[in-house]
Symmetry: C2
Subunit: 165 residues, 2 copies
């Protein structure tokens, strides 16, 4: 679990760096697909990650619009602020939390029940999916995208005393 | 680990169904970003998943070109064939395999060492990333993309006897 969050955070930081070398016009341009723009996507990723973790913690959700966070600096600052909640939660993850139930009330009065482990993987997949969209748009801008490779980031240390199968 | 592979397989099947409702011309059209097309992306996902798992098993890799698999039926058949190797391997995954070393010889004679757990997560992220690209192209085609939601696919059963934190 932690590995994939760490992967997302590394890639996200690299996209912020990619954005530094791109004009605000390109970052804010409305595009086809996803939430419709590069910076808007990064805002959406940060928002959704934090919001789900707030829901798991039974704390109030984030309800602001992109319009108030439409610069790279504002998104990065929001990310930094939210990371203070998100990172300790991810680091505290353990096997018992995988099947813990999350009740989500439906409008009709019934309750949907999700497993915490589903929610966490949903957050992981959500970011990777949206970053895939960024990679198409980066080509439209005429720039190579950030690498999506998970290997070669030093995320898991191989145990060289183990036998290869 | 298994949950995210299962997620990818469900979403991939839904993209095949999406492809059934799309013309071969759109599926084969060369597009900006990624490997450059919808069907080519699905082929690439199937190829990369199987190839890495073959590498972990120290078995020969897949070396064929998309040109020989450029119809939906051919990609689905290839996927079905490869799944016979991939699925049992994923289902046999255990914690001890996470840090098992994979030696990759470099051209200069040195050896790169990856952890098996990194490789498996690389495969997972690889597919989700490329599916994000499909979602942009589906809008170009004028069709809604397959949902990327991981929740609501019944992948983890919540334990309703557990307390919510």
């Amino acid at each position: 679990m932690k590995t994939l969050f760490q992967y997302n955070w590394i890639v996200r930081e690299q996209w912020y760096q990619w954005c530094e070398e791109t004009t605000p016009e390109e970052l804010q341009r409305v595009r086809v697909g996803g939430v419709g723009g590069i910076l808007h996507t990064l805002f959406h990723i940060v928002d959704v990650e934090w919001s789900w973790i707030r829901v798991l913690q039974d704390k109030p959700d984030f309800q602001e619009d992109f319009e108030n966070y439409n610069t790279l600096e504002k998104v990065r600052n929001l990310d930094k602020e939210f990371k203070q909640d998100v990172e300790p939660f991810v680091n505290s993850w353990n096997a018992e939390m995988e099947t813990r139930p999350l009740d989500i009330p439906r409008l009709d009065g019934t309750v949907e029940i999700l497993a915490w482990g589903e929610v966490m993987r949903h957050v992981i997949a959500h970011e990777i999916h949206h970053v895939g969209q960024l990679s198409v748009w980066s080509r439209e801008v005429g720039k190579p995208p950030v690498s999506a490779n998970l290997i070669r980031k030093g995320l898991i240390q191989p145990n060289e005393t183990q036998l290869q199968d």
